[in-house]
Symmetry: C2
Subunit: 314 residues, 2 copies
């Protein structure tokens, strides 16, 4: 069953935003329009051969998140054959949008389809995590889970993987703001305190409860009140030029709330679908131009599908 | 308008459970069958005269939560007249069920009705908090808010008061377990650490998100997985004899989860309405009997009304 040759499959795995405000290390969501398009093709040998398009990914299988995830999955299902793995990425790795998660989740999802292994998306997350771990040196699923499952996903445990989907308003959209600066994930981790005040912990949990309730109940005011992160934002925002200014401008232009995507430098801001963000984008461009920093934007709805099959060339 | 004499009103303000698992200092809910019945009657003078029935409450107005709350409310609406305040309590103060909150919320709710002041329940919470502060030396609304509003309420801020209602499954019931021991609230506060690990804070927020999502979506497994408190329970459970044994027995008999009500000694345990808890109660009675400690139980549904008018003797 796992030895069908001359067969390939193409899937799409969306980019995702993790650390959604108070949902630091917990809550993520998938976005439309950005992500990895992955084509997996059987080979006659047992090699994993990576082709990277649109980004400069590691081509050594032991260092590439997609192939590490793929190996973990294939070991589990007992498939020893090789693959050509074409990874086409339409956003920059290191931007804060879960690039490694898209590759890992996409590769595993593609293999499950190609091999007709029949595992659920939830079951696939564990193998994708094995890949993610290579990239981030940290086993966390708040990018992998929404990338695989779509929508907003809260993760309560990685080993074993436990997560829950959080419904959200139909007319929620996100503006992702990418200032052209580099943040090293290791530095973004080190900058966090190891201990916090009990009161800070209580505030974070309260905002987490409010954010989830607001999302499920379409309560925009509650989402807005609750999109506050006291664990990471106060420290990590120092790594993002003009963060406070961007936040103030977004909130003044109808943003429901804004916070750091992953470990940055990208920021995400929620809006009602009917809100026009073009003036805000002009203002932010001007703001960053004064500082000689480039900035680009991505505006989209929430991706509710997660990893999906694009075509199945039998 | 505020000078109508010879008029009295009777209200009921339910008991409540605060510190609902990961909702330490955040989430509370009101319960049926226990609470304060408060009758407020106009006096010809400006005195506040307290009559306490069923409990030994302070009769000095400056030390009684009901009259302090009442004074705060009357100052706000500009009413200087006195009242006879009859407080009939059908549960023990100090049990962990928000006794002072029932008195404070009930008194303010009664005065708003008697004086036809027309404030919303949400607006009344602030005055009730002034009373609660006398009892607990701490301004927190996680008992006051559900007592006033009914159902499950999450509190994100006391000054100004900000809270949100959390829908819950229709067939959720609670078993409250009261071992006959005394816990001083001050000791229960002091036993808590002032700082926590960042990881503990993340776990608490994750469980908070899961609990709220589970409640809103009738996801009993998620409620069960998420009803875990890493902030207070590990420390406060030491003050409650046989806590771990009670928890294990409850979980073995169909409990969705169990934690400490307020600062204890009461414990609350969630069940589906269809689950018979009589065997569990027998086992817990036997357990505490071996330790020469009395135990009583209260089983009820969630109170969805909050403070309510019982009669209006015009």
């Amino acid at each position: 069953m796992f030895n069908i040759k001359d067969r390939s499959i193409t899937v799409f795995a969306p980019a995702s935003v993790a650390n959604v405000g108070p949902g630091f290390d917990i809550l993520g969501f998938a976005i439309n329009g950005l992500g990895d398009t992955i084509t997996l093709t059987h080979r006659d040998d047992e090699q994993y051969v990576i082709e990277s398009v649109g980004a400069d990914l590691p081509l050594e299988p032991a260092n590439n998140v997609a192939t590490v995830a793929l190996r973990s999955f294939c070991d589990h299902v007992g498939h020893s054959g090789g693959f050509d793995i074409r990874i086409e990425k339409n956003f920059e790795p290191g931007s804060g949008l879960g690039s490694s998660a898209s590759s890992a989740a996409g590769a595993v999802y593609a293999a499950n389809e190609l091999l007709q292994a029949g595992l659920s998306k939830e079951a696939l997350v564990t193998f994708a995590l094995d890949g993610e771990e290579v990239a981030s040196k940290n086993r966390h699923a708040d990018n992998i889970a929404p990338c695989m499952l779509g929508g907003f996903v809260g993760v309560t445990s990685c080993d074993p993987f436990k997560a829950f989907s959080v419904p959200y308003p139909n007319d929620l959209k996100v503006l992702v703001i990418f200032p052209d600066v580099v943040i090293k994930t290791a530095e973004a981790r080190q900058i966090l305190p190891q201990t916090i005040d009990l009161g800070t912990g209580i505030n974070q949990a309260a905002n987490m409860a409010g954010l989830v309730t607001g999302l499920i109940r379409n309560d925009y005011a509650l989402i807005s009140d609750s999109l506050q992160d006291e664990f990471a934002e106060p420290f990590r925002k120092k790594l993002i030029p003009l963060y406070d200014e961007v936040k103030a401008k977004a909130l003044a232009k109808g943003s429901m709330g804004i916070s750091i995507s992953g470990s940055g430098p990208a920021m995400f801001s929620f809006f009602r679908a009917s809100t026009d963000t073009s003036e805000l984008q002009q203002e932010l461009k001007a703001l960053y131009k004064q500082a000689n920093i480039g900035v680009v934007f991505h505006e989209s709805g929430i991706n509710h599908k997660g990893a999906e099959l694009l075509n199945d060339k039998l």
